[in-house]
Symmetry: C2
Subunit: 346 residues, 2 copies
DNA sequence: GTTCAGTGGGAAAACGTTTTCCCAATCGGG
DNA sequence: CCCGATTGGGAAAACGTTTTCCCACTGAAC
């Protein structure tokens, strides 16, 4: 006791622990803790007021380490994103962050670069941090991912379904339906000579989008030619699009529409056509509708995913720990390139 | 003791604490801790091996809360970014993350949306998290920022200097010099009828860039007309650029070059010109050279900041707690728009 | 045969919370 | 007037680390 009060003399406005608050309010630390955590049944209004005043005066905030140690869980929510350079993922992260903050949770954002080893590294670290939940924004299969599922930490798959099995909470759009929408839209516009470029990955999102597009064109009686479907191994999505487009150009194919399973792929492909200076470049359509498309890619139509809605869905999935909630958010085909929009939205 | 060993029976492969490791290796927890932290002087090679084996077998990783509590500091490094939708900031974050991870540190990324209240909220939270350091990626003035400087948590200012005073470690480019470079480049190209668009903020970066550009043109005998310098209050950078360009167009001004103090502003401005469908739109040059410029903005020249280098500089600034390290990284004028690049770099 | 220095390692305190008991006082009903 | 329930609040344990002492042992020098 004497020791503690001596410490107080030394640190006048420094860190400040729950002890300082208790002493100032003339109560025990138990009472302070209860007030902080809103346990009203155990404190008289007068006491609550005194404690609040002391907290205010000392600008006190509970140290998270103490909490985490006792409660065996922290206020951190890990978001492991496959590629933060993708503006769409960045937008989802932003939405998640806002929603989490509103819950008093703190987002830790990590970039796995779509690499299993890095994803494992972060999974380990976030387990050590006793993260409240782990959100996988486009997960990849990895050993640690399998192990984590046997633990109790909530796991939430966003955009891509669980690559290790059918279980797991999921948030995303109906990728197959979106693919079919693209085909339907193309047929309506009379664009029947289409090419399709996708990443050579086995993510559920890519797979479903490809399947939807192919099925849609086939159902309309205009199945895509095999030679018009490309998935080169060329690095990131930008390079994939660029390389695929170059091959198409070299092959002499002249599609009237190029469907890309992500906007980044479309950016890369567009660049190839621009360089080739073809007289009448094909229409293009991508997926995600990255927020900057409206500014930078005025020729690119896209399936818009509702970024803003992901944050709330993630929060819901975390609290509603009820297993395996599947949230399918509505997508929307945004058409650009026929006539320029008169004014920028927003 | 009996209680503890009973618990072990229950949790065969669950969380696992240092106790489990110690028991398995037949040593005390003190020894385990020493091995983990590389204190070699206090353990025989044989013991070290046994402990390592046990750690491996149990897949043990120290809980960060215990550590943080004892050491009064965590392995978290907070990065408070003003706007993650800006690809340049996202790129800097990515670089920081990689460099920090290599040091065994974990980056917590937060988006302050350039709002003082939000920045304060995060500063508070990160203090409660006992963050090892706080990196301010484009800081804004705020009450808490002033208070944090009186504490011992290292504070590192990136891109923008400390808005509250002259002190503080800084990492960035020579913005004024870059502005002068832009003017020199313009004069060389014969572009003397320039407009300048900048954000109406008082950030050091914007201020220095503007000053450099103005000084450069003035020194060349072609000072910018007052009516050609715009800084409308219009929201984010995209809207600022769009609105400023609209005003220029409305005023009948026909600059041969538009200088923007950020690429985002340039994107917005470019869109206005595209909509207006002017026959010969002006050349444009921005700052930052966002990573996707080469793909999406082939007409935009830019002052490239070396994103990749920021991570290491940040790590260095954290460890070299020697006060007020100022790191000025080299910039580079990237010219685009005369002739398309034959091949995409990278 | 004693000391001395060094080596290897353990016991326990401390970090800041939350939470489980426990206790004292008050109050209402019989 | 006594008894039981309720209310308000405190003491202390527990959480998982790191780190400071402290101790036992081993050789080596005397």
């Amino acid at each position: 006791m004497a020791k503690v009060s001596a410490r107080e003399e030394i640190s006048p406005a420094e860190g400040g622990s729950i002890n300082d608050v208790a002493r100032r309010a003339g109560v025990s630390i138990a009472t302070v803790s209860r007030v902080i955590n809103g346990v009203t049944r155990k404190a008289s209004p007068a006491t609550v007021a005194r404690v609040r005043e002391a907290i205010e005066a000392l600008d006190y905030r509970p140290t998270s380490a103490g909490r985490a140690l006792r409660q065996k869980t922290s206020r951190l929510v890990a978001v492991l994103a496959a590629n933060l350079a993708n503006p769409a993922m960045a937008a989802i992260s932003a939405s998640a962050e806002a929603a989490l903050r509103e819950q008093g949770l703190v987002m830790v954002l990590c970039d796995t670069h779509d690499r299993p080893a890095l994803q494992d590294e972060y999974l380990r670290e976030m387990l050590a941090q006793q993260a409240r939940a782990i959100v996988l924004l486009a997960a990849v299969d990895s050993p640690m991912l399998r192990k984590v599922q046997t633990l109790k930490t909530p796991l939430i798959f966003v955009s891509r379904r669980n690559p290790t099995g059918p279980e797991g909470a999921f948030i995303g759009i109906d990728n197959r339906g979106a693919g079919e929408d693209v085909a339907r839209w193309a047929i309506e516009r009379g664009l029947r000579n289409a090419a399709l470029i996708h990443a050579p990955s086995f993510s559920s999102a890519t797979r479903d989008r490809v399947a939807g597009v192919l099925a849609g064109f086939a159902a309309a009686g205009s199945p895509l030619l095999r030679s018009m479907v490309l998935a080169p191994e060329a690095g990131d999505h930008l390079m994939i699009g660029f390389e695929a487009a170059r091959r198409l150009l070299a092959s002499g194919a002249r599609p009237d529409l190029v469907v890309c399973t992500s906007d980044l792929i479309a950016f890369g492909a567009a660049r190839a056509w621009r360089e080739a200076a073809v007289a009448a470049p094909p229409r293009m359509i991508g997926f995600d509708d990255s927020p900057m498309n409206r500014w930078l890619a005025p020729e690119l139509s896209s399936i818009r995913i509702p970024y803003e809605a992901f944050g709330d869905a993630i929060v819901e999935a975390i609290s509603g720990a009820s297993e395996n909630v599947r949230t399918i958010l509505p997508h929307e085909l945004v058409e650009r390139g026929f006539t320029p929009e008169p004014n920028p939205p927003r």
